[in-house]
Symmetry: C2
Subunit: 379 residues, 2 copies
């Protein structure tokens, strides 16, 4: 395999990199914009995504398998064609959703038996099934099928679970290599990222990181964080694990987080992020500004003629006032959701661009301290 | 007053015209895109409206008076500034909504006492109040405050109602003239359209048309149609009334209708249209095509890789397939609504542009017959 990831610059542990994919180059650190069901919630289209600076879209294997089914998406030419997005797409493996959404799940060595959260129907998903679905979806990057244990869990449970996740990863690798060779496969260069697990037990995390690093995957994720543990635990685990992941591969911190979390994690060597937070917050009128979060439903914005965030170049801020968007929420007009989701995703994408600039310019530490101070002022 | 309306060409009774306003020129016949609460339902923004060829946006006095209040919009600089739309806006008078939405209404000579459909609070609206609210909203065109009687109503009731509507129109004219002279008024060139009423009684309609024509207003609407009567009654009334309205002013058929209705009405001399139908249909997956209406929720579109309407240049058709939009509906993704509303409004705006071209080229009759035939083929 040709070298995909290039580490361009380091400042402390923070990494400025570049990741080359068949669907275009990703400048890192990057925030992936979440479109669970092949669409960003809040009536945001793939055209909008380009306008707000999205580099990578993320969709969910579990959700798309249930609806409309990966078979449909395969027949429609894969996710890129289906949702009209030609840049990189990462699909998660379904592992997290099986453990957070599905009902009546039974974990066996072969995989997980569970009931659909939509209609209760029985479904089996194991490493091979997850890879087959993701191959159908034809995403740029497939994630390994893992068990995401909730925090806290007992040491004994986590150890057994991590061992199984390792065996599942080996099966994922074999299966994706097989699928990428099939003539019927849409994306024959689909990449695989492994996922480090181990709860909040640093030593289990480190042992697991060492094990999966040997497998020479396209990238490595840290999973099972932001699932109940404290921020201190999260940062400590990242500090512990990152040194044991390969420096020449991107590192993805799954499902994290707030702008503050992202700055702290970049500072600890993370390259990829995703989180539903900005879109979810936006749908409730909670928007990010350079001076912290505000909620547009607040009565004080009724006559506020300022944009959500002064100086922001997102489609919402270039055209509309806080007063107008507040009215849209009160009037239950869907445009309210769309404008706030656009703004929040733009805020995240712009934050990442600013982080990259800071790393390029060698002033990331100062940038981080200044941002944390600004955001907390009005928090 | 300078001459605002120019009749450019006639084909039979069908009129190709041009209407000059302080917010830009309107090419007629025109379909106004309805944004009841200062936003088009389905997360469509004023930026989107420009992309889909909207010439005139229409908002509702009654709704905006209740939420966010005309006072708020006045303080925000008027509707144009509030919703970031610099082209013409027509506001209806609230008359229709008072009679279709409000509860416990009492009609008196001075106006109507009613309860808000939102919180039940008591409100009074008469001709002066309607004009004051519309002056606050600062729309390009204000509509007269009238009583919209439902069909059928007794001859006696309609006669009394129409007489009152005439007296209300006189009061509207006096009030808007006064308001347009106030230094605090945002749009001092706000225009007033009178509304012809009379149910399905041709003679009452004609007498009323003669009376209001004498008042030299900026335009004339035919109201009280598409409220329960048959299409035959509607077309007959239009045929009866249009000859008694001034040829040098635009004629607006309120709340109508289907693409077929529009062709028939243009053929009878109508210049302005508005209707919630395309946006409402779109939100339910019902979309217009050159071969008639289809519903994207239908299972047969599950793997359909065609756009909603082949050859259509709307933002939805340029980027997305029927299969994708169907999936969005099934997955309850709001983007589904937005794409279908954009398509349907584009379809209407494009239909009007094609009608204008046909009138310019002198082939409107053929155009009309061909369209009616095409649409009915698959209806």
């Amino acid at each position: 395999m040709s070298k995909r990831y290039t580490l361009l610059k380091k400042e402390g542990k923070a990494r400025r990199g570049r990741f080359v994919t068949p669907h275009g180059t990703i400048e890192t650190p990057v925030f992936m914009n979440v479109g669970t069901l092949a669409a960003i919630k809040g009536a945001v289209s793939s055209m909008d995504l380009k306008e707000i600076g999205c580099q990578v879209e993320l969709s969910n294997t579990y959700h798309l398998h249930l609806r409309p089914s990966d078979e449909v998406i395969y027949k429609m030419g894969g996710l890129h064609s289906f949702m009209n997005w030609d840049k990189p797409i990462l699909t998660d493996s379904g592992g997290f959703q099986v453990f957070s959404l599905a009902k009546m799940r039974k974990i066996k060595e072969e995989g997980v038996y569970f009931n659909s959260h939509i209609d209760g129907s029985k479904i089996f998903m194991g490493p091979e099934e997850s890879m087959q679905i993701q191959s159908h979806l034809a995403s740029t990057i497939a994630m390994a099928f893992d068990e995401c244990v909730s925090n806290p869990s007992t040491r004994e449970y986590v150890e057994r679970s991590v061992d199984r996740t390792t065996r599942w990863l080996e099966r994922c690798k074999i299966e994706i290599d097989r699928l990428n060779l099939l003539p019927s496969t849409i994306n024959k260069e689909q990449m695989l990222f492994g996922i480090n697990q181990g709860g909040v037990y640093d030593d289990i995390r480190i042992e697991h990181a060492k094990t999966i690093t040997k497998m020479d995957l396209d990238g490595y994720a840290i999973g099972g964080l932001a699932v109940g543990e404290s921020h201190e635990d999260m940062y400590r685990v990242i500090d512990a694990v990152v040194p044991y992941l390969p420096e020449d591969k991107p590192i993805y911190l799954m499902g994290v987080g707030t702008p503050e979390n992202i700055l702290e994690a970049v500072d600890r060597g993370i390259d990829f992020f995703d989180c539903v937070l900005p879109a979810r917050n936006g749908r409730h009128g909670s928007v990010f500004t350079k001076n912290g979060k505000i909620n547009l439903l607040n009565a004080k914005f009724q006559l506020d003629s300022k944009p959500i965030d002064e100086g922001c170049q997102c489609p919402a801020c270039k055209s509309y006032t806080r007063a107008y968007i507040r009215h849209l929420f009160k009037a239950k007009e869907l445009l309210a959701l769309r404008l706030c989701v656009l703004h929040n995703l733009y805020f995240y994408n712009k934050l990442m661009a600013d982080i990259r600039d800071a790393l390029d310019g060698g002033y990331f530490k100062e940038f981080k301290e200044e941002k944390l101070k600004q955001w907390n002022l009005n928090a």
